[in-house]
Structures are given as C-alpha cells and as structure tokens.
Amino acid sequence: MDRKIYLDNAATTPVKPEVVEAMLPYFTERFGNPSSVYEFAAQNKSAVTAARETIAHALGAEPAEIYFTAGGTESDNWAIKETAEAYSQKGNHIITTKIEHHAVLHTCEYLEKHGYEVTYVNVDENGVVKLDELKKAIRPTTILISVMFANNEIGTIQPIKEIGEIAKENGILFHTDAVQAFGHVKIDVNEYHIDLLSASGHKINGPKGIGFLYIRKGLKLRSYIHGGAQERSRRAGTENVPAIVGFGKAVELAVATMDERMKKELELRDYLISHILAEVPYVRLNGHQKERLSNNANFSFQFIEGESLLIMLDMENICASSGSACTSGSLDPSHVLLAIGLPHEIAHGSLRLTLSDDITMDEIKYVIVKIKEIVEKLRSMSPLYEDFIKRQ
C-alpha cells in the first residue's frame, strides 16, 4: 500500500479540512480578544457563542454549562480536583475505576496525597465496571463518582445511565471522562444524570489544545485555572478563539455524520475482528464484544511484544498503537489490560486498531494479511513461543 493506513484514531485524529477552513480567518484577520470593547473583536464573542451552542446541543445541555479548556486532561483535572475542594465539607471520598485514563487516575492519586480517599472499582473481563462493587463502595462521605464513558484502549462503553442513576439516588456527583465517546456515541447529560463531562477536540477531527468541561448548572465547583474573568469567571486565560471555532465545526460535523459513520466503522471493525480471531491462532479480543466503540479493535497476541509489532506494522505503512499513546513512554504493561485480568506477558502483546470512516474495506483486508504475517514472524523469533510449542 502506498497510502499510509492510519489506525490510531483514539490517539489523535487529523483535523478535517472544513475545520481548518473555519479556523483560518481567526488567526490573521479576526484575531481580536473577544473580551474587548471594539466591534471587530466583540464579533469573536458570537463565534465563541455559536461553538458553545453547537456543543451544548450535542449533549442536551445548556450553553452556559459548557466551559472551554485546553483539552481533556485539563477538564479531568478540573472536574475532580475542584469537586473535591468544593464539596470537602460533605466528605473526602471519591469512587472511580481501575481503567480510567491517567488524566483521572493520576489526579486521584494526587488527591490521595492530600487527605482524600479514593476507591478504584474493578471491572469484569470485558472491561465493564462492576456495578455491585461500585454501589458497595459508596460511603456517607462519598462526594464524587468518576467513570469514563468509553475506554480509550479496549473501547468498552460503560453502563453510564445506570451509574448516573446510582449517583443520583445517593446524592453523589457524577463525572464522566467522555474524551473517547463524545462525537462517537449519542450522549444526553440529563438522561444519563451526568453532572460533569470532559471532552477533547482532537479526538473528533478537531484541533488539539482545546476541550471542554460540562458543569451542570448549580454545582459549586470553582476555577482550576485562576486569572482573568473569561468563561464566566470560571476558566481564566485569553479565549483560544480559532480552536474554539474549529472545535464547534468538528462537533457539528461529527453529530451530522454520526449514524452513517458508526455504520461504516462497525462494518469494518466487525470484519477485522472476526477475521483476526478466525485466522490468527492464540489471539484474544480485549474489551466488550458489543458494548464497544464502533471504531475500536484491541487484540492480544500471545508470545509477542507490542512495540516490535508496531514497528513492523509501521514498515508496512500501518499506524497503530499498543496501549494508549501517552503512556508509551512507560514500560509497564497497560493498567487497563491488567485490570481485565490479562497476565503481564499477554498484556504486553496487545495491539489497538482504531478506525475512521476514511478507511476502506480493501485496506482492512490488507491490514489483516499483514498482521498475520508479522505475528507469525515475531513468533518465530520468540523464546516464549518456542517453549510453548515444545510443551505441546
């Protein structure tokens, strides 16, 4: 294949040309600070308002409940740390899961060093949070439940509505890291009883460096980034107008194409999954079979190691990942794969392929062929495989 086959859309996505188009005037011409008095810049306020409305609409929220941030990570930090701070009178206990993104996990660990208590609920072998365990974890001092909408590695979609109901019945705030789900799955913050929701632009063909936090009206949490009076005095810093406009455009497109996109992705994904499972021995699919993102496939190939696999795929023009991109600095196997019960050596041989509707069936077929070849080659080099074969 001449064309690069990009199968790492969970890490980041290309900005759509229409989105770049929408952003461009805001760099050089409509560059003004929207807080200014003069008309030329004040107009930018309406561009920001329009983006906010598009986003609010996509969530069944009100525009005044959307606060722009610099990305999903900042939104997660804000939601969790400032809920902890604002509701510390009520209690110091937070419930989350073992498979959250590091933006949530490391934030919770930070809070643990500062007098908070955190319960990390287990997930089952499909990566679905154990609701009975979650319920049992609730204490009178529990102030927040934070469960991601869909997992970035294995794609499992959580029973968000049920969790929202549990939170609501117990008078506990509910945050969901929807960075992987927003724009890919239909979300209604009221139906799902979501109080706080994080999302990020670059996961849905929007720009990097922009995200938002949905904060339900009436919640007491205050600023995380202190300074000027932007975002109704709740998030300081000169508004990133081009990125906000681009984010709005990306959401508009994502919403408009969602059904069609999901249909196409599902077809490709299911073909990929069924063929890999059928044609490659000693492989397993990670994540839930049905309750998973339409673009996510995650396999563990026994006896081989992920990074080698990735490099060989790259040599065939296929971009994929093993675990989440931002942890690839680390040597530890993915905490998500360990949480669904994989032993270390199997977790190490994992491959995440995250599709887009830009991919063709021919490309998927090519990918299947290449994976088979590469897995075979790596196994022929693997002492683990040798031992296994000898034990047969």
């Binding site: 008095v37 919640l219 109704r232 005095s233």
Partner: protein, 145 residues
C-alpha cells in the same frame, strides 16, 4: 456588545447639556463603577416637563440610557415621568448586556433625584417619590452559577 439602538443613542445622544435655573437637578452615582449622571428638568406650572438635559460620566450604556430616559420623560407630566422605570428605558433600547443593567438604574435614579429636587424647591410632595440614594450600587448582587 450593544444593540443598534444603544449605539445610536451613544453616537447621537439626545438632550445633552445643561439648563440654566432648572426646576430640578439630580445627580446620582454608582460608587462601584464610579459613574455619575446628572439630569436637569424644566417643569412648567402644569407639572409638565418642558425640557430635559443630561450629563453623564459613564460607560456607553450610561450615555445611551441617559439619552433614552430624557426622550421618554420629555413632554410628560411629573407623574408620568415617575413611572419611567429602568426596565422601560432598557426595553426602549432593545436591551442591555447583563453587566450593564445597573447603568439603566442610574438613569431612573437621576430622574427621581431631579424630581425630588424640584419638589423640595417648590415645597411640594410627589406621590410615590422616595428620597433617592446618592449611590445606587447597593442594588447589585453577585453573579450566580
């Protein structure tokens, strides 16, 4: 930020100036934003406002609301002028941004202050008119989430 009507009244404020030997003069301020408005009224023996002028040290909204308020009271009786509320002034301007609502209170209060001055000078009592405050800022409340 402002409506076309506000901008129109800001660009071409009606009734700017002073009235020599006015029947009533009222000056009010908002200590919080530091803005000050002064209204001059010329009231005839039938209690009709023949002429009105204003001066304002204030923001765009303050200038526009003073201008509109003078328009609304000109030719009216004292009682009719008393009924001109800040809401009426805002509506006549097609609205103001939330942070600028207090500026329209300044206009209402300045008219009341001028009427009070008129009543005092003439030793009369105007029904429904209370002694105006010099500083209107205590009306205001914090923004809620």
């Amino acid at each position: 930020m402002y409506t076309e009507k506000v901008m129109d009244h800001f660009k071409n404020p009606r009734n700017v100036g002073e009235i020599e030997n006015a029947s009533g003069v009222g000056t009010v301020g908002n200590a919080k934003c530091g803005d000050i408005m002064r209204i001059y009224l010329d009231i005839d023996e039938n209690e009709i406002i023949q002429d009105v002028k204003f001066k304002t040290f204030g923001c765009g909204a303050a200038v526009a609301t003073s201008s509109m308020a003078t328009e609304l009271v000109k030719g009216k009786t004292v009682q009719e002028a008393l009924a001109v509320t800040n809401k009426a002034v805002m509506e006549a301007l097609d609205g103001l941004p939330p942070v600028k609502v207090h500026c329209s209170l300044l206009a209402e209060e300045a008219i009341h202050a001028a009427l009070w001055d008129y009543a005092e000078k003439n030793g009369i009592k105007i029904d429904g008119l209370e002694k105006p405050k010099n500083d209107i800022s205590e009306h205001e409340e914090e923004e809620e989430y």
